[in-house]
Amino acid sequence: MSFTYFLKRAAFAALALAALMTSAFFLVRLTGDPVNLYLPVDASDAAREAMRIRLGLDRSLLAQFFDWAWDILSLDFGMSLWHNRPAMDVVLEALPNTLALGAIALALAFTAAIVMGSIAAVNAGGWIDRGVNVLSQAAASVPDFWLGLMGVLLFAVTFRILPTSGFGGPIYWVLPVACLFARPFGTLVQIVRGSMIEALNATFVRTARAKGARDGRVTFVHALRNALLPAVTVTGDLAAQFAGGGGVVEVVFGFPGIGKLLIDGILKRDFAIVQASIFAVAVVIFVINILVDMLYASIDPRVRVE
């Protein structure tokens, strides 16, 4: 991947980011006036006006926008209203949690899907294949909020072996990871199975057999690498989704990630937090896309030339 290619990508990403941030600026202001939320219902008009002036909300929307745009360009995302700290500091505390949660869940899902999907493909049509099919269909279709609540009910309330929610040692990660694992796992098994069946029927697999390669080598060395591309594509998409936070899962388990921060930020009309979160997530997604492209090229040499 050439440097000019990277620059081109970065330029497009910057353009998209500008459009995204602009729409974010206007959309968060549609959620309502933070002053009404933060001051008591019986606060005087003077107090309300004073707070508006302090937050800069008294000026025209356009003036606010230009001021804000200038700050963003100098990477100043303003103060969080709720946390009373620079918004980006708060975001950068939550982001690593989300990234780690997503990365663990996806890495496990990807690995498990490769193994299960390959086994299903090798035994296509047999009872193992059918078993894997039922399991993966179920995993792909179960809603994560349901899985989260059932997990809490079973492991935290009934068996009392896992915490209901919160944050701390590894034990707090088990249920969120399990919930985020299910859907990617189910989806990826189906994809790996399909592309493996195709690869196993390819002529180069016959060549490998004719060369004397035994079944394990044929499946995992010759067929699998050819079958990986679709799975990598989908994993990249899922990673981009997860970068925005495990949404419901973070809320259900009170997991201090970017998803929960973003939802709280919207509910609390904490404009700076919402904007900084969106910015950080967009940058992460850009990086993920670049990484996926690089991974592509390292898996399939034909991609490098095009």
Binding site: R209, K211, G212, N226, D300, P301
Partner: protein, 323 residues
Amino acid sequence: MALLEVEDLQVSFDTASGRIFALNGVSFSLERGEVLALLGESGSGKSVTASAIMDLVPNPPGAIDRGSIRFDGAELLKLSRNERRDLCGNRIALIFQDALAALNPVYPVGWQIAEMYRIHGRNPEGGVEKAVIDLLTAIGIPDPERRARQYPHEFSGGMRQRIMIAMAVALEPDVIIADEPTTALDVTIQAQVVDLLATIRKRSDAGMIFITHDLGVVAELADRVAVMYAGRIVETANVFELFEDARHPYSVGLLASQPRVDTDEDELVPIPGSAPNPVALPSGCAFRTRCPRAERLCAEVIPPLETVGPGRQAACHFPVLTA
């Protein structure tokens, strides 16, 4: 004892339209140092024969119903799956038709050739790397050190086929099966690949089975020819006898339908009709529906492959006899 002996081989496939008998009792033998051409049109069972020898018949839907394949005294059909694999590549090698599809697109060609040594635990003198470079040099790939690191899509069609050939001959197998190795190539490149195969046969004493429908290539490379039709061998003869004095009406038709430079005939005579539907083969001789010499007996009795001269056989009730 012949190097490779195939006897009464029957292979069938389950398909949506019924059970297809791809091979209906194929018998032939191959001697060391001999090039046997399996000649026939598409669907006649040439490639299935190669698959059966290499244990590449997909099961299901395919199955070897009966017959025997003896290689160097051992009955292959009685060996275990892994024993068969150990022979493949090592002692019996297969060259595929379409090298672009047959080479793995995601591994460098040098790696794919080296894999031959690695799978079979061979340690050539000077190391695997050197053996690969030597092979690439021998098959006429310029700049082999650099080319070994490149991927199949970076080579021309002719070069890819040479690499397939290099891979097949890497471990100096006893039997080389070439399944239409020149079909996917244009004419000048075909000639180069045929030359390469001719060089290889001169240098080694391996037996070679050359699967083709191209009479020109047969004339150039083969010692003996087995003509296949609808899953049977209908005639075997040495290559001169076949061209001069074919006995089976199908062989005669096949020769008349292709242009030749050694005769004055300038008219090509196609064989009437088309290859029979494998789900419902005609009774008796499968060729009778297209045969100008067919009589009632042909519909009733399958003609056995009988000796019709020294070292030659034909399966026909009314063989062509040119005096």
